[in-house]
């Protein structure tokens, strides 16, 4: 998306009036988008279509279109899957865990982060399906009654994935939508033109801001937050089981669940910051999404980044400590073998660069943090690539060792997934309030009754 710093923004003289908040937040929906927006949309969506083209090609000719081979049976497909699932985690973390921790600052970014969760999971969910040899049979992974009494193998981590990811998607979607209902109602009542009104009416389900509803609403919101918190931790744990539960040296490791969760939050926050930095500029929301918000997130990035670094060390240490020759070989080979370049890219991007966030300057400088989070995104993708490919390409039998060379299609699909993600983000920013209106209103000065019940 294109940045425009020249555009001067609405300044609030005093605490914002509720009406002003509404106007500001729903401005993208009321006004017609600028040319820049369309250029951005055109760009992302053309990437998306490129991706779909490649997927179509793969679907027709088979996975042979990719770089995978008999030894390295998983390549970009699963790498991208794990990457996107990781991205998704930030949203839920912000909306659920920070809610439970009563972190007020979350309100400003929660809606947007949740939206990113949904879109990231959509991108992620794409890959397990298209990476199968016969995608049209993907339904076999779901337990449905059939005349053969054939059921999925509930022992397989891949089947756990199916349940984990679909649950994750459903729950975050519902959570997100629940938050959106009152805002849709607001938009419905603001809407001038008929079509808009119709749409918003449909989605607002006829919400009436009734207090009898607010009561259950708030309770339900709390409940959802409560459910989402363990869920978000479980999802990436299950994803990590794909590797941890296998016997392959380099995968077969108990450290994976915590390591993956940390990594997921890490990459997720990085992605949220990446997008927010752009969005708050484009839609003049600097005083809603303030530098403090970003700084807080950078702190979390710093924390999780260090955790990931610790995990890297532990992995190496354990493989040495285990005394299993194959494990040791893999550890060495990772750092100094064919894929050393990928490994060191990972380490530098994920462990080294985030350390700059120790300095307040860096944390609070938009361009600097932007660079760092971009690097983190790259690094986290490579982390998954290293785990999958470098472990597979040197496994037990030297006779089957080989090297992985991705094909053009591989890259096409990777790029396409980014296209899809940002296209969805762009559409989202124009069709729904990127900030939870009713939540924000609830926390502005004087929005709540004073304690004496206003008796004067």
């Amino acid at each position: 998306m294109s940045l425009d710093y020249s555009k001067d923004m609405v300044q609030f003289t005093k605490e914002p009036k509720l009406v002003e908040l509404d106007n500001l937040i729903s401005k993208p929906m009321d006004t017609n988008p600028s040319r820049k927006y369309f250029i951005a949309l055109a760009f992302t969506s053309s990437l998306m279509f490129l991706g779909f083209l490649c997927i179509g090609y793969t679907f027709y000719f088979g996975i042979g279109a990719w770089g995978n081979n008999q030894t390295i049976a998983w390549g970009f497909g699963i790498t991208n899957f794990v990457f996107w699932v990781g991205i998704a985690h930030a949203g839920t973390l912000i909306s659920a865990i920070l809610y439970l921790l009563r972190q007020r600052w979350r309100n400003a970014i929660a809606r947007f982060a949740e939206a990113m969760t949904i879109f990231a999971v959509i991108c992620a969910g794409l890959f397990p399906i298209i990476h199968t040899g016969r995608p049209w049979l993907a339904g076999y992974l779901i337990p449905y009654p059939n005349s053969m009494n054939l059921w999925p193998n509930f022992i397989s981590p891949l089947d756990w994935d199916v349940f984990a990811v679909s649950t994750y998607f459903t729950v975050s979607l519902l959570f997100w939508y629940l938050g959106l209902v009152p805002d849709f109602a607001i938009l419905r009542d603001r809407a001038k033109d008929r079509i808009k009104k119709l749409i918003y009416t449909f989605f607002s389900l006829g919400w009436r801001h009734s207090n009898r509803h607010w009561r259950d609403y708030e309770k339900a919101y709390m409940v959802f937050a409560g459910l989402a918190t363990p869920l978000v931790l479980s999802v990436h744990t299950v994803v990590s089981f794909d590797f941890a539960a296998a016997i392959l040296p380099g995968w077969h490791s108990t450290i994976f669940p915590p390591y993956f969760v940390a990594g997921a939050i890490f990459s997720g926050f990085a992605m949220v910051v990446t997008a927010l930095v752009v969005m708050r500029k484009v839609f003049d929301m600097e005083n809603i999404i303030t530098l403090n918000h970003l700084e807080k997130m950078n702190k979390i990035i710093l924390l999780t980044g260090s955790m990931v670094g610790y995990a890297y060390l532990m992995e190496a240490f354990i493989s040495w400590y285990s005394g299993v020759p194959t494990e040791q070989y893999v550890a060495v080979n990772r750092a100094f073998g064919n894929y050393a370049w990928a490994y060191w890219t990972t380490v530098s991007c994920n462990v080294f660069f985030p350390q700059f966030f120790w300095f307040k300057k860096v944390r609070r400088s938009i361009p600097l943090m932007f660079i760092v989070v971009l690097l983190v995104n790259v690094g986290m993708w490579f982390e998954r690539y290293v785990i999958i490919v470098s472990s597979l390409h040197r496994d037990f039998l030297p006779s089957s060792w080989t090297y992985f060379t991705p094909s053009v299609i591989d890259f096409g699909i990777l790029i396409g997934s980014f296209g899809l993600f940002f296209t969805l983000v762009l559409i989202f920013t124009r069709t729904m309030p990127v900030i939870a209106m009713s939540e924000i209103k609830g926390i502005v000065e004087g929005a709540q009754p004073s304690h004496d019940g206003g008796a004067h």
């Binding site: 984990a164 607001i186 207090n211």
Partner: protein, 387 residues
């Protein structure tokens, strides 16, 4: 939307949170209970003011969640350990540790979904887009920054004037009468609608047919239903006669199929000798084959009593001295070669089976004219079996 003249409720608008709280308390104290407050965001202390109990949503989550979890665990046990047992990686059929992740996920899923549904459908009674409050300026205001309260006509103590004055006394910015919307109706048999139904029906059926029977069988879809190999009796476009099954070249000899040397000779001077030893299994098979191929003409006990009652010339009895005197080889020759009206059976019955039949015929002949010595034999057997 168009309004009827049926009053739904009387509403009032307040402009500060404190006022609305006060108003709510007052209305509650006045003894109204069919009233509600609309605020753009949840107001703290409003529940107390309105005298609402705390929400029950949590229980739905709890119960549905627990139910979902236990159900899926039971389900997994049933599928893998009960309904269709499979040996997977040397694990027991019910591998509990491996079932835990899914159990957890489903607990959360069912919990969340049920909560949502309950919330929308049961607690909120939504979607309810033709509620009288909608499209009123009242609604438009409370959804932005004002706080509204209304009392419906269903309230037993409903009295318009009283309520209006009450509101005014509480310092309402304004009061308002809200009328019920009019019911909109469609006729069942209006032509457009029927046409639409038909269109939908045809459209769906057509697309379904194409999808299930055409689209799903073009490349790349492959169900391995049709494979390139040739199973018996399959057609092959390669050969002229479209048969994938070929007949061997004349003069060749397949292993164990040396041509019968006396083929076509009516009464040969020499015949083969019987290579088989009549074991019980062999005789059992001989009987089976005899009843299949021979009994129709020669009768179940080879007495020449055809089962075809005269539709086909009866075969002779096989108990005649002539036939009893025949060597095994001769009987074999007749089966293989045919005789008089009897066709050759060499293509229907394998060589081994033919010998088995010969042996069985011997058994029949023996049984037919048994000697006393046989009785002794039988006695012996029965006694041995007895012990």
């Amino acid at each position: 939307m168009a309004r009827s003249n049926n009053l739904h409720s009387v509403a009032a608008i307040f402009d500060t949170p404190n006022k609305i709280i006060k108003a709510a308390e007052k209305v509650r104290d006045e003894g109204y209970n069919k009233f509600d407050v609309n605020t753009p965001y949840p107001l703290h202390g409003m529940d107390k003011a309105m005298g609402l109990s705390s929400s029950k949503v949590g229980f739905v989550t709890l119960f549905c969640g627990l139910f979902g979890g236990s159900f899926i665990l039971l389900f997994m046990w049933w599928t893998l350990a009960k309904n269709y047992q499979l040996f997977i990686g040397g694990k027991p059929f019910f591998a509990l540790p491996a079932f835990i992740p899914i159990t957890f996920e489903i607990t959360v899923l069912i919990g969340a979904v049920s909560t949502f549904i309950a919330l929308i459908a049961v607690f909120f009674k939504l979607p309810f887009n033709n509620h009288p409050l909608h499209d009123t300026d009242y609604m438009k205001t409370v959804s932005v920054d004002k706080y509204g309260i209304y009392i419906t006509t269903e309230d037993p103590k409903f009295d318009k004037e009283k309520i209006i004055s009450l509101f005014k006394s509480l310092g309402a910015v304004s009061t308002d009468l809200i009328y019920l919307p009019k019911q909109e109706k469609f006729s069942m048999f209006n032509l457009k609608f029927v046409l639409f139904l038909i269109f939908v029906a045809v459209g769906t059926s057509g697309s379904t047919y194409l999808l299930l029977n055409k689209l799903m069988y073009i490349t790349p879809f492959d169900w391995m239903e049709f494979q390139e190999k040739y199973t018996p009796q399959e057609t092959s476009l390669f050969f002229g006669d479209r048969r994938s099954m070929r007949t061997p070249v004349d003069g060749t000899v397949a292993k164990g199929f040396i041509p019968y040397p006396y083929k076509g000779i009516a009464n040969p001077t020499e015949v083969l000798s019987n290579p088989t030893i009549p074991t019980e299994d062999l005789l059992k098979m001989g009987k089976k084959k005899y009843l299949t191929f021979c009994s129709p003409c020669h009768g179940n006990f080879a007495e020449g009593d055809s089962r075809l009652n005269g539709q086909f010339p009866n075969g002779p009895t096989l108990h005649s001295d002539k036939i009893i005197k025949y060597s095994d080889g001769m009987l074999y020759h007749i089966i293989t070669n045919g005789q008089n009206a009897m066709p050759a059976y060499d293509l229907q019955i394998t060589r081994h089976e033919r010998w088995a039949i010969v042996d069985y015929i011997r058994v029949l002949q023996r049984a037919k004219n048994a000697k006393n010595s046989d009785l002794v034999e039988i006695k012996k057997e029965s006694t041995t079996n007895g012990q």
